[in-house]
């Protein structure tokens, strides 16, 4: 069947191991990932009812109700939640690019032993508890914290005395949500960017410099265009989890202006409206599928270009 298959694969084949190796994880994922998702999809076309489980489908063909999706568009609660989520996630992604790019570029410009240490320092927060890293900011943003007090003092030094602030209201706001998102997801931006920037051919930079380009021009004309795949990969790794985030808005966000993850969770547990929760979840996935498609488009193009070159 082609020579890319190793001898070991052939042996697996002969013994029927192949079916086992493919079948077991396949079955697991179908049972515990695909099937639950199909249940959610089906439920989004049902209606809340006082039954157990609390749902009801339409009694006649086509058995599907579109009520939930109509409510999704007409009820401002959902529209606003979507807008808030996507807006927060977009701002966080943009800030991650602005902060992460120079950091990733900086890591490629230091000596090899420093590079390993710095990469380790980027990865380490990723391994330590997400919840606790969000919690750490709760302590910093509160009105009594040393950070808030020193920021207030700095602002008051500029402001006239009659406008002096007691403290800066940072907690429970979209500002706090975006700040903590940037903090939590920055490693997801730095790592793919670093992987991309590290592979770039440094002789291109030298050639451009020799031909008289200023450092800024070299960056703008050579490094930046070549690193776009890295930026896109990092942006998706930040944007997708950020838009469905539940922990961060629950802990530091504004409850009056909820994000979509919070809405799904509330519909499910407090309102016990499972069909509505499912519909919001399906809509969120549809919104996230779009960036995914953009990404695979970029990747395919890069691959075609690479194949064309060799």
């Amino acid at each position: 069947m082609g020579r890319e298959r190793g001898a070991l694969a052939r042996w697996f084949d002969d013994r029927g191991w192949r079916q086992l190796v493919i079948g077991v994880p396949y079955l697991w994922l179908i049972l515990f990932f695909l099937l639950p998702f199909i249940i959610v999809l089906a439920m989004s076309f049902a209606r809340r009812a006082d039954l157990s489980p609390p749902i009801a489908f339409l009694e006649y063909w086509p058995y599907l109700r579109w009520d939930n999706f109509e409510r999704l568009i007409s009820d401002t609660l959902y529209v606003r939640a979507f807008a808030t989520s996507l807006w927060n996630a977009a701002i966080a992604t943009l800030l991650c690019i602005l902060i992460g790019y120079p950091m990733a570029l900086g890591i490629t410009r230091v000596s090899k032993s420093w590079r390993n240490l710095l990469l380790m320092l980027v990865i380490l927060p990723f391994w330590t508890s997400f919840l606790l890293r969000v919690y750490a900011w709760m302590g910093l943003l509160g009105t009594n914290s040393w950070l808030n007090k020193s920021l207030t003092a700095m602002v008051n030094a500029v402001l006239p005395a009659e406008h002096a602030l007691r403290s800066i209201p940072m907690m429970n706001s979209n500002f706090a949500v975006v700040l903590v998102m940037v903090y939590s997801y920055l490693p997801f931006m730095i790592l793919p960017l670093y992987a991309n920037l590290e592979k770039l051919d440094n002789t291109l930079n030298e050639a451009a410099t020799d031909l008289g380009s200023k450092p800024w021009q070299v960056f703008k004309d050579v490094t930046l265009p070549l690193s776009i795949p890295g930026i896109v990969a990092g942006a998706l790794l930040v944007f997708i989890p950020a838009s469905g985030e539940l922990i961060i808005p629950s802990l530091v966000g504004n409850a009056a202006d909820p994000m979509i993850g919070r809405v799904i969770s509330d519909e499910f547990s407090s309102a016990r409206d499972w069909p509505m929760a499912s519909a919001v979840a399906v809509a969120l996935l549809l919104v996230l599928v779009v960036p995914m498609m953009i990404h695979s488009h970029f990747e395919k193009r890069a691959q075609e270009r690479a194949e064309g070159r060799t």
Binding site: M1, E4, R5, G6, A7, L8, A9, V21, I22, V24, P25, Y26, W28, L29, F32, P36, I39, V40, M43, P53, I99, G100, P102, M103, G106, R109, L118, L121, V122, I123, L124, P125, W127, T128, S129, L131, L132, R133, A136, G139, L140, N144, W146, Y183, L186, P215, I240, S243, G244, E245, L246, I247, G261, I264, S265, F268, A281, L284, L285, L288
Partner: protein, 280 residues
Amino acid sequence: MNRRPVFLISCLCFGFAFFYIPILSLIVFSFNKSRLATVWGGFSTQWYAKLLDNDQVIKAAVLSLQIAVTTATFATVLGTMAGIALARFQRFRGRAGLSGLVTAPLVMPEVITGISLLMLFIYMAEWIGWPGSRGFTTITIAHITFSMTYVAVIVQSRLTSMDLSLEEAAMDLGARPWRVLVDVTLPVIAPALLSGWLLAFTISLDDVVITSFTSGPGSTTLPIYIWSKVKLGVTPDINALATVIILTVGIGVALAAYIMHRAEARRERDVQMALSQDTP
């Protein structure tokens, strides 16, 4: 070219300060004497002493560790199988389906994974009478499902970058297939298995959202315990607990990375030496 590194290095300093100041502040305030968690009132280790007396914390930590070890082990086995299937079996029916199923959980928002698994468990209980109650088993199944895909991705990328001629050579030299597997393939993918296990372990140990949907009364994991406390605000005893967790995980990961880095460096050196002896 001279001015840019200065700018980049100041960005690095700023970035790492941003990364580590919140964590350092948390650690410092865990030694705070005052009950007010954010106002310094002198040095004290009382919150750590209280932690040891807190049965709830100890019980939750034990449960979390049990779930994490079980999850990591099963996820490594299942994820390795999926990784082998995707990297070595080039054509089989449903290959695209498997590769889609492996990547989809990675991008699925946690809330949706959590809710859909909870609905599955509710309907399964209705249809086949299992699971009777939600707890250790349902949490572990949920954790295995999303962490096995990380392992699969790691193992797959390690296998695709592996030199297939190593296996061919061993077979040509008369090694039996299972010898090849044990002596050639496994040592090459061992670092991937180890990092996969560790990743699955820490992901499981850390998970809040999916666990909160798949756990039942009486099965409180450590993150769920912390989650229920943290929603009420910042308290010094949670600062102490957080410090213990962050330092344990941080030191463990740094140590594992260092050992793996050294093993890799030694392997590379051995390969270099073998090559240089071959061609004098």
